[in-house]
C-alpha cells in the first residue's frame, strides 16, 4: 500500500526515501546549528565557565568513528555477497554504537563529579543539552541498526536492490550522526 508511489514516474535518480532522509538530516542540522549559535551568543554575554571536556568524550569519538568504518565494511561485504563479514561487522557496529552511548554517559558522570552540573553555569547546561540531544539521535540510529540486524538474521541472505537500498538508508543516517558528533566535539573544543 505504502508503495503506491514507488512505481510512479521518477524525476530524479535518487530514491525518494533517500531524499527524504537527507531532508530530515538538513532539519536535524538546523537544530544543532541553532543550539550552536545560541551557545555562541550566550558565551559572548560573559559569566561563562571554562572547563576541559572529559576524556571519555575522546574515547566516544574513537568508538563512533570505528563504528562507521565497520558499518561501511559490512555494507561493502553485503554488496559483494559475503554473508559472514556482512553480519559480523553489522553486529560489531551495533555494539560500538551502544559503546558510544555508554561512553557518553561516563563522560557526563565525570563532568558531574567535577562539579559541572546541569543547573549551574550555562556553559555546563549547554554541554549537557547538546550532547544529550545528540545521543537521542544516536539512539535513533541504534534502532535503525537493530532493524538492519533483524533483516540480516531473520531473512535469508540475498543481495537485492531493495535490501541494498534499505541498508544504505541505515548507513547514511549512521554516518551522519557520527559526523554530527565530530562536529560537536570540535565545536565544544574550540568555541
Amino acid at each position: 500500500m505504502a508503495d503506491i508511489t514507488l512505481k510512479s514516474h521518477r524525476s530524479s535518480r535518487v530514491h525518494p526515501q533517500k531524499f527524504a532522509l537527507w531532508a530530515a538530516m538538513a532539519s536535524i542540522t538546523m537544530m544543532f546549528a541553532s543550539l550552536s549559535s545560541a551557545y555562541i551568543v550566550r558565551q559572548a554575554a560573559g559569566n561563562w565557565l571554562e572547563f576541559q571536556l572529559p576524556s571519555a568524550f575522546y574515547i566516544s569519538t574513537i568508538i563512533i568513528l570505528l563504528s562507521s568504518m565497520t558499518l561501511h565494511k559490512s555494507y561493502t561485504s553485503f554488496i559483494n555477497g559475503q554473508e559472514r563479514p556482512y553480519k559480523l561487522y553489522l553486529v560489531v557496529s551495533f555494539f560500538l554504537g551502544l559503546g558510544f552511548v555508554v561512553s557518553q554517559y561516563i563522560g557526563w558522570q565525570n563532568l558531574y563529579s567535577l562539579g559541572i552540573d546541569l543547573k549551574g553555569n550555562p556553559s555546563g547546561s549547554f554541554l549537557y543539552v547538546m550532547t544529550f540531544i545528540h545521543v537521542v539521535h544516536v539512539l535513533g540510529g541504534i534502532a535503525c541498526l537493530l532493524t538492519a540486524m533483524f533483516h540480516a538474521f531473520a531473512l535469508k541472505f540475498k543481495v537485492t536492490e531493495r535490501r541494498k537500498h534499505r541498508f544504505e538508508l541505515v548507513n547514511h543516517y549512521w554516518h551522519y550522526v557520527d559526523l554530527l558528533w565530530v562536529y560537536l566535539l570540535i565545536f565544544l573544543l574550540f568555541s
Binding site: T5, K7, S8, V14, F19, S27, M31, S34, R42
Partner: protein, 615 residues
C-alpha cells in the same frame, strides 16, 4: 458542448501519450474503498488527508475566531455585563453580587488572546492552509500517484490531530490555558509560578507545539521529496504551476526553521523543569529570589523569531501560490511574469531567514545590528512588490470571471498591499520605537498575514471545492461572504492603525482606565461590532461548505473552470492513485490561456508544429 470535447481529448491524450507505471496491475483502489477506517480515518490517500487537514483547520478557525469575539467584547464594551457568557465560560466570568455585572477575568482575557494567536497562526493558517493544499495539489498537479511516503503523510496529519487534542484539553484546565502570548516569551513561559497559565497550561502548550512541529516536519519532508522525485514525465521545474513552487519553498522554510523552534522549546523545558538558566536571570517572585542566574530572555526571542519570521511566510506563500493559480484561471490569461514570480518566491524564502530581529528592535539588541536587519527587512518589500505588480498585470485586460474564488484572489492582493505597506513603516527601527507593541503592529499583521492568508485559503477552497467534493459551493452565499469579509476586515483593522499611532498598546485588558487612551472608547466599540459581523459572515461560509457537500451543484465535467493543470484531468471521483490508467505526460507550462486564439491548452497537449513554449 465544448467541455465535452476537451474531456475526451484529455482521455485520448492520457492513453496515447501517458506514462505507464503499470498502476492498474495492482488494485490499490478496491482495497481502499472496502474499509471505512482506512478510507476515512487512517487514510493514506493524499486527497483524503487534505480534507482532514481542511476540516480540522476549519473547526479550529471557528474556535479561534470565537475567542477573539469574546475578548473584543471586553475591549469594545468594558462596562457591559458579560454574565450571559457564564454558561460557556463558567468561572472565568465573575459576577458582582451587588450589581449583577459579569466581568471577564483578566487572566482569562490573556489566555484568550494567547490561544487565539496560537490557534490561528499554527493550527489554522499553517496546518489548515498549507497542510490542506500541499496535500491536495502537490501530487495532483505534478502527476504523481500520491506523496513520496503516504504513510509519513498520514502520520503528519495524526501528529497534528494529537497536537490539537492536547491544546483543546488545555482550554479546560482549572488554571486555564497558557496566557503569556502566542510567542511564549520567558519568563512567563519559563516559570510555572509566574502566572496562572504558566503552569500546566504552558506545559500542555509546549507538548502540543512539539507534536505540531513533528507534524510539520513529516509533512514538509514529504512535500519536498515529492516535488523533487515524483514529477511526471515532462514536468520540468519550469513547467510547475506557481502553487507547487510556493508549497515547495514553504516546505523548505518549515524544514529549516521549525527545528530551531524545537531547540528553543527544548531549552525552555529545561528551564521549566530542570532548573537550568538559559532564559532566566535573577528573578524575584512573590518576594523571594529564585536560583536562576545569568540567563537571557532575548536568547529565546532570537530562537523564536528565527522560526517566527519564516513562519509568517510559511503562512503567506501558499496563499500567494493559490492566488496566482486561481487568478490566471479566472482571468483567462497567463500569469504575468511567471519566472519573476518564481524568483520572487525564492528571494522571499531566502530573505525571510535573515530578518527575524525586526521583531526585537525594542528588546535591547544592539542598534548597529538592528541596522543590518532594517536593510534586509526593507529589501523583502522588493520581491513582494514584484509579485503584487504581476498580479495586477495579470488582471489587466483579462477576460475576468468575477466569481467567488476570483474575488477572494483580488481581495488578497488588496490586503497584501495594505498590510505590506505598514510593514515598511515597522521595518524602520527608529519608527518602530513608537509603533512596537501597539495596535499598529496588530493592524499590520492581521491585514497582511491573517486576512490575506484567509483570503488565499478561501480562494483555494472555493476554486478546488469541486475537486475535493465533486460539487460546487453556492455562488451567492460565496459572494456575500466575500463582500462582508472584505469590508468588515477593513472596518476592523483600519482603525487600529490610528490607535497604534496614538500609542495604544496591544494586549491590554481595558483602556478606559487610562487617561491617554480613554478617548478611543467609541472606536473600540466600532471595531468590536465589525468583528462580530465578520464572524457571522464566516459562519455563512461554513454552512455553505457543509451544505454544498451534499446539496451543491454537481460537477458534470472533469474540468469545469477550463484550467490547464493536471488535477483537472483526473476522474471526477478519483480513487487512490489519482489516474485510473496511465500517468499524464506534460508538454508545456501551465499558463497557456488565450494562446494562438485558443481559450486554454491543457498541459497534456503536445506542442503543435512550429509552436514555441511560453514562459
Amino acid at each position: 458542448m465544448a467541455d465535452i470535447i476537451t474531456v475526451d481529448r484529455d482521455d485520448v491524450l492520457l492513453k496515447k501519450e501517458g506514462f505507464d507505471d503499470h498502476f492498474h496491475d495492482h488494485h490499490h483502489e478496491d482495497k481502499y474503498k472496502s474499509n471505512f477506517i482506512s478510507h476515512y480515518i487512517f487514510s493514506m490517500d493524499h486527497k483524503m488527508i487534505a480534507r482532514q487537514f481542511l476540516i480540522t483547520g476549519m473547526l479550529w478557525a471557528i474556535i479561534g475566531a470565537g475567542m477573539s469575539i469574546i475578548f473584543r467584547l471586553q475591549l469594545g464594551f468594558p462596562d457591559e455585563s458579560l454574565a450571559w457568557l457564564k454558561p460557556l465560560l463558567g468561572k472565568w466570568i465573575t459576577i458582582n453580587t451587588e450589581t449583577g455585572m459579569g466581568s471577564l477575568q483578566p487572566e482569562f482575557y490573556y489566555a484568550l488572546v494567547t490561544m487565539h494567536g496560537t490557534i490561528i497562526v499554527f493550527f489554522v493558517l499553517t496546518a489548515g492552509l498549507s497542510g490542506t493544499f500541499s496535500n491536495l495539489l502537490i501530487p495532483l498537479q505534478l502527476g504523481a500517484r500520491d506523496m513520496a511516503s503516504p504513510f509519513l503523510n498520514m502520520l503528519s496529519y495524526w501528529f497534528f490531530f494529537m497536537a490539537s487534542v492536547v491544546m483543546f484539553y488545555s482550554l479546560f484546565l482549572s488554571t486555564g490555558p497558557f496566557s503569556g502570548g502566542w510567542t511564549a516569551y520567558p519568563p512567563l513561559s519559563a516559570l510555572p509560578q509566574a502566572s496562572m497559565g504558566s503552569g500546566t497550561g504552558m506545559t500542555l502548550w509546549t507538548i502540543s507545539l512539539v507534536l505540531f512541529v513533528v507534524s510539520v516536519l513529516l509533512g514538509g519532508i514529504n512535500y519536498i521529496t515529492t516535488v523533487l522525485n515524483l514529477r511526471t514525465k515532462g514536468m520540468t521545474f519550469w513547467r510547475m504551476p506557481l502553487t507547487i513552487w510556493a508549497f515547495f519553498v514553504t516546505a523548505i522554510l518549515g524544514l529549516l526553521s521549525f527545528p530551531v523552534l524545537a531547540s528553543g522549546f527544548f531549552l525552555l523545558m529545561c528551564d521549566r523543569g530542570l532548573g537550568t538558566s538559559f532564559y532566566l536571570s535573577e528573578i524575584f517572585i512573590q518576594g523571594s529570589a529564585l536560583d536562576f542566574a545569568g540567563g537571557s530572555p532575548v536568547l529565546y526571542q532570537h530562537l523564536f523569531w528565527f522560526l517566527g519570521h519564516p513562519e509568517v511566510y510559511i503562512i503567506i506563500l501558499p496563499a500567494m501560490g493559490l492566488v496566482s493559480e486561481v487568478m490566471a484561471v479566472h482571468a483567462r490569461k497567463p500569469i504575468f511574469g511567471y519566472k519573476f514570480m518564481v524568483y520572487s518566491i525564492l528571494a522571499i524564502g531566502f530573505l525571510s531567514f535573515i530578518v527575524w530581529a525586526h521583531h526585537m528592535f525594542m528588546s535591547g539588541v544592539n542598534p548597529f545590528i538592528s541596522n543590518f536587519f532594517v536593510v534586509f527587512t526593507l529589501i523583502i518589500a522588493v520581491p513582494s512588490a514584484i509579485k503584487v505588480f504581476n498580479w495586477i498585470a495579470t488582471l489587466y485586460k483579462g477576460d475576468l470571471r468575477l466569481n467567488t474564488p476570483m474575488l477572494f484572489s483580488i481581495g488578497f492582493v488588496s490586503m497584501f498591499i495594505s498590510g505590506g505597506l505598514t510593514g515598511v513603516f515597522l521595518g524602520n527601527s527608529a519608527i518602530d520605537i513608537q509603533q512596537h507593541d501597539t495596535y499598529f503592529v496588530v493592524a499590520h499583521f492581521h491585514i497582511v498575514m491573517g486576512i490575506a492568508a484567509f483570503f488565499g485559503m478561501f480562494a483555494g477552497v472555493y476554486h478546488w471545492y469541486p475537486k475535493m467534493f465533486g460539487r460546487f459551493m453556492n455562488e451567492t452565499l460565496g459572494k456575500i461572504h466575500f463582500w462582508a469579509t472584505l469590508i468588515g476586515a477593513y472596518a476592523i483593522f483600519w482603525p487600529m492603525h490610528y490607535l497604534g499611532l496614538a500609542g495604544v498598546p496591544r494586549r491590554y485588558y481595558r483602556f478606559d482606565s487610562f487617561d491617554a487612551f480613554g478617548s478611543f472608547g467609541e472606536m473600540n466599540m466600532f471595531i468590536t461590532i465589525a468583528a462580530i459581523v465578520v464572524f457571522f459572515a464566516q459562519l455563512l461560509m461554513v454552512i455553505n461548505f457543509f451544505y454544498s457537500m451534499y446539496y451543491g451543484k454537481k460537477m458534470t465535467t472533469k474540468n469545469p473552470w477550463g484550467a490547464t493543470t493536471l488535477e483537472w484531468t483526473t476522474p471526477i471521483k478519483a480513487g487512490h492513485g489519482n489516474w485510473p490508467g496511465k500517468l499524464p505526460t506534460v508538454h508545456r507550462w501551465p499558463y497557456d490561456y488565450g494562446k494562438d486564439g485558443k481559450d486554454f491548452i491543457s498541459q497534456l497537449e503536445p506542442m503543435a508544429e512550429g509552436e514555441t513554449e511560453a514562459h
